[in-house]
């Protein structure tokens, strides 16, 4: 899929900006807007320089109205544009739920294919950044539950770019969740050329034989640290980066679990009715007879993410993941 040779060191912010830049240049129908995304380039600077480059009618600041941002995007998309909108923080997306769930996710079905809503809804999500209330939640399961939406979460700059290109080119509405905790924490070489990673394909990051660990977003880095501890303890871990929450890559999950016989899912979001529960059921349906231990969910608690002084109680550490790996392997 990699097309070129012009490599550049990028963090996730750079990579997302680069993907937006490539697509804005390529397709006049693409419009980028949201709160503070124009002049300021977004509170995380993800859209920096884009307004200067593409003009105020293509990259601009929206009024402070999440429902309005999402709702106008539905109208623009029905009329033929391809809006990419930003929710400043995922914790502020709730006022836009009616527009996303009742309209963006349904317009094609409601109109029997007459209209479609190729919208990308970008939003930084997740905790661990010492933020105010409503700036730390992970609600991917809420979106994953809505028929008509696709939900994508990258864990590296490279994937962030490739997945965003696919999201922008999709004719479905894509919820693109950005793990803000690792926005600038991971740097890697990424080509400046265009490439895409298909939505719905997980990535086996590390091959292993004893246990499968499935994670995504900022949790990948924590699992990778846990894998170092596991290796010292003589445990071989296979790590799957889910990359897409919906549609989920069932085959990659099943192939791995059938090989290892053990599975742990790590998510930052609350446990009940979450992605880890969904994966557990997929494993039960597809790989029941291969299991040597009960599938395990390592997740946030069913609580509100605590404010910074208490957040360490909530966030999942590499040590905790290793603890669960060891228990599952020894089951």
């Amino acid at each position: 899929m990699e097309g070129g040779t012009k490599m550049k060191i990028m963090n996730m912010v750079n990579a997302i900006n680069n993907a937006l830049d490539i697509k804005l240049k390529e397709d006049k129908n693409i419009i980028v807007y949201g709160q503070d995304v124009g002049v300021e380039g977004g509170v995380f600077r993800v859209t920096e320089h884009l307004q200067k480059k593409y003009g105020k009618d293509r990259v601009f600041d929206a009024p402070l109205a999440e429902s309005g941002i999402a709702g106008t995007a539905v109208g623009m998309a029905a009329a033929g544009l391809r809006p990419i909108i930003e929710m400043q923080f995922s914790g502020f997306v709730y006022p836009a739920f009616n527009q996303i769930i009742s309209h963006a996710a349904r317009m094609r079905n409601r109109s029997r294919g007459r209209y479609q809503t190729p919208i990308v809804i970008r939003m930084p999500y997740g905790g661990g950044i010492n933020a105010l209330e409503h700036h730390s939640e992970s609600m991917e399961a809420l979106f994953g539950h809505i028929p008509g939406l696709k939900v994508v979460i990258p864990s590296t700059p490279h994937d962030a770019k490739g997945l965003l290109i696919s999201a922008i080119e999709s004719n479905d509405t894509v919820i693109y969740m950005e793990p803000k905790r690792i926005y600038r924490a991971i740097k890697q070489e990424v080509t400046e050329d265009k490439f895409s990673i298909p939505i719905g394909s997980a990535n086996v990051i590390t091959k292993g034989t004893d246990v499968t660990v499935i994670a995504y977003g900022a949790m990948i880095r924590e699992v990778q640290k846990a894998i170092v501890l596991a290796k010292e303890a003589g445990i071989s871990v296979e790590l799957i980066d889910l990359r897409t929450i919906y549609p989920i890559d069932r085959d990659t999950i099943s192939n791995s679990v059938r090989k290892t016989g053990r599975v742990i899912t790590v998510t930052e979001s609350p446990r009940s009715f979450g992605v880890a529960s969904e994966i557990t059921q997929i494993v039960n349906e597809d790989s029941f007879l291969y299991l040597e231990a009960p599938p395990k969910r390592v997740t946030g608690f069913d609580v509100v993410v605590p404010l910074p002084k208490g957040e360490h109680h909530y966030m999942i550490s590499a040590e905790k993941i290793f603890y669960e790996i060891e228990k599952t392997v020894k089951f």
Binding site: T72, G75, A79
Partner: protein
């Protein structure tokens, strides 16, 4: 046209009217430029729309369709809208705009199909630039503002007409949509059908504001309060509002004051929350009666009662023909439940469908 917005500036609390309750012209200056042929077409279109609307309520009573929200008493608004709209203009409807649907090219059969509970009613085979009905109240107004952005962005000369009821103006989406349309200076004409009730809730419970048109001030857009039961006033107001928007001067908020003579939907019983006296007060303002009175007084309508009855019975036959067509519409295939959710059906969804098909096969064998 700015003059009209000045003369009827909402701050003056002056409702825009052209004919009185008896169909006499009281405001000649703003009488729309319509040929006799157009005037008669307006009348017969309204007769047709009312006949179809009342007939639809009958079908519901016969158990042949599900819930239906009647247009009865409010027809002038949608009919004037239908007459003013250009071919490429967008219609973003609420759900009481049959006249505008028909003018757009939506068939009665499609309208029936929708209220029989079939998405194919929103295919709009012969109509363009019309969104399907949006049930969550006022949410559609945001789409109108977004479409307006597309028109402006691509330098098109079309206009969006977006409709909402008085209850809908209490929703946050109303505020956001009109506010953003003001900021973006997009060509959207917002039409509030103020029919005095949101189901059973009277207008006085929706807002302490002195009407809706005045709210245009807060959004920096033009506004006007219009007698929604006066076909000519609606025609002129919509015409001027749309030309204002078409020329790039921004959005307009029209409050069309009307009365919902029928129930909210066929599941509703208005006798529980409004009086006979009130209904009678509004009866004299009926839009069809007033339009007819004007046409008869001005000797433009020469049809005898007997001839009119004959025409209406022909309409009924046509309405019934389309209704029966909708009743005999092809069965709803299982495929259609799944195939429009995504551009390409996700593997997991395909699996869900196959699993169900296996069950159906099993059921067939079991018979």
């Amino acid at each position: 046209m700015i003059i009209m917005f000045k003369e009827y500036d909402p701050i003056k609390k002056k409702m825009f009217k052209i004919i009185d309750d008896d169909g006499n012209i009281i405001n000649k200056k703003w009488f729309p430029e319509l040929s006799d042929e157009q005037l008669l077409k307006a009348y017969w279109d309204m007769v047709f729309a009312r006949t179809a609307d009342l007939q639809t309520v009958n079908y519901q009573r016969q158990g042949r369709i599900y819930t239906y929200p009647p247009n009865y008493g409010q027809e002038a608004i949608a009919l004037a809208l239908g007459a003013v709209m250009h071919e490429n203009d967008w219609l973003v409807p609420a759900f009481r705009e049959m006249g505008a649907y028909l003018a757009k090219g939506v068939s009665l059969k499609e309208i029936f199909l929708y209220f029989m509970g079939h998405e194919d009613g929103s295919r709009f085979k012969n109509a363009k630039n019309i969104l399907p009905m949006a049930v969550p109240i006022a949410s559609q107004l945001q789409h109108a503002t977004g479409i307006g952005y597309e028109l402006k962005y691509n330098k098109k000369k079309d206009v969006v007409f977006a409709v909402v009821g008085d209850g809908g103006t209490s929703e946050g989406d109303f505020h956001e949509a009109v506010n953003i349309a003001g900021v973006w200076n997009v060509p959207v004409v917002f039409i509030v059908q103020n029919n005095q009730y949101g189901i059973s809730t009277p207008f006085s419970v929706q807002t302490a504001s002195d009407g809706i048109a005045i709210k245009s001030y807060a959004y920096g857009v033009k506004g006007i309060q219009v007698d929604g039961n006066d076909y000519f006033a609606m025609h002129t107001a919509l015409k001027h509002a749309s030309e204002h928007a078409r020329k790039g001067n921004g959005a307009v908020l029209i409050e069309a004051v009307t009365y919902r003579k029928g129930a909210h939907t066929t599941s509703d019983d208005p006798t529980k929350y409004r009086t006979k006296e009130e209904e009678q007060q509004w009866e004299v303002k009926d839009p069809l009666k007033r339009l007819k009175a004007y046409l008869v007084t001005s000797k433009k309508l020469k049809t005898t009662n007997k001839e009119e009855e004959k025409i209406i019975s022909q309409y009924k036959k046509e309405i019934d023909r389309q209704f029966v067509e909708a009743e005999n519409y092809k069965p709803y295939p299982l495929d259609d439940v799944f195939k429009y959710m995504y551009e390409d059906m996700p593997i997991d969804l395909q699996a869900q469908k196959m699993e169900h098909e296996k069950f159906l096969k099993w059921k067939e064998v079991r018979k």
